[in-house]
Subunit: 226 residues, 2 copies
């Protein structure tokens, strides 16, 4: 096992050779293992059983978010979004971004701990900071593409109505100063649909979590309507 | 104006006599006022215009939550719930509560600041810590009553389907150790309906916010179906 998990297993949980416990690999598998060597840095286990722990949602759910100046708010978001359930998190570098760099490893550590806390076996993929235009190109062929901008131009529809449950979906959440007009045009041209999350005025991180909750709750309601 | 708001107005924002600005009263009214006396502790304003700023949701939405040991998590919840939109927050004293006391004033301060940040005019009512049984009695005649317990007894239905938009609604969210069997029975006997928030395993504060998001998003979807 990796050093940090070995230490947790041997020093904190005080497991002894022969003990059985469960571990996840972050890729959807849950393993029942037996401790063979209680080395605090390189513990060895043998696999007794493994089973796949599927997601309880269908289709990939990706959040692409312009990070806030305050890094705590981003860590909070990654923690909560991992608990609620997401597949990917992309920090977006936008024209009006308040933060141009992020510590990817810190966000990943937060995601690992939230994954374990919420008994999931899959780790959301945490990307490096990605320039807006590169992101748009990369997701051009994604089926469900949304941009939650704040310009009240009468074109935006509610995400809860637009989202098709089961479809791989990604939503762009802008910085406090919103997306630039050029960014909005670029996204629309690439097939992103303009959406609103409702009438509340939300901070960036609250908007991102609300979008993710919308995917899940609209999914619960629409599947019940079948 | 109260001392803390006077200081903010005069010292931080550096308003001068004659300046026009907007203030809210926490009871649903937005006032345009003119500064008359720039006293840093007792600033005086005259009201130029007032208008009501109605909620964008219908029916009262109340969260009753067993507070977590970590007070930061409760402050975070009150901040986010105020942004998203709620009418009342009741800290519940349950059998397995990890925290038996709360600083109501601290939570109220958080709510005031989130109200201003999100441009709302109504302040959610933050209650004192309330014993579970007293809460149940007090809300006996509330129309929409839900308890989100974690016992998978086949009786729980999805909150998203059970909630009737527009109806005054309250949901009980338990401590990490869940409600006791006695508490669940007491709530069911009083007409609370047992609900689940979905398949995610959520921390207390995440569950409470998810319940509130469910009210709003189910409201958006159901009103669009009319």
């Amino acid at each position: 096992m990796p050093e940090v998990e070995s230490g947790h297993c041997v020093r904190v949980l005080r497991h002894q050779p022969g003990d059985l416990f469960e571990v996840v690999d972050g890729k959807g598998w849950l393993y029942t293992v037996r401790l063979v060597d209680a080395h605090p840095k390189r513990a060895m286990v043998e696999i007794v059983e493994r089973r796949e722990l599927p997601s309880y949602w269908e289709g990939k759910l990706v959040l692409a978010v312009a990070p806030t100046k305050n890094m705590d708010r981003m860590e909070w978001l990654v923690e909560k979004a991992t608990e609620v359930g997401m597949d990917g998190f992309v920090p977006l570098h936008c024209r009006f971004s308040e933060r141009k760099e992020i510590k990817r490893e810190r966000l990943e550590k937060t995601a690992v701990s939230a994954m374990k806390q919420s008994l999931k076996a899959s780790l959301p993929e945490i990307s490096e900071m990605t320039p807006f235009s590169r992101f748009i190109e990369r997701y051009r062929d994604f089926p469900g593409k949304f941009i939650a901008h704040c310009v009240d131009d009468g074109q935006r529809r509610l995400l809860a109505r637009e989202y098709r449950p089961g479809e791989d979906s990604v939503i762009l959440i802008g910085p406090e100063g919103d997306f630039s007009q050029e960014e909005i045009s670029m996204a629309l041209e690439a097939g992103f649909r303009p959406v609103s999350l409702g009438d509340a005025r939300l901070r960036t991180e609250t908007a991102a979590l609300t979008a993710l909750e919308t995917f899940h709750i609209a999914g619960q309601l629409k599947s019940s309507a079948d």
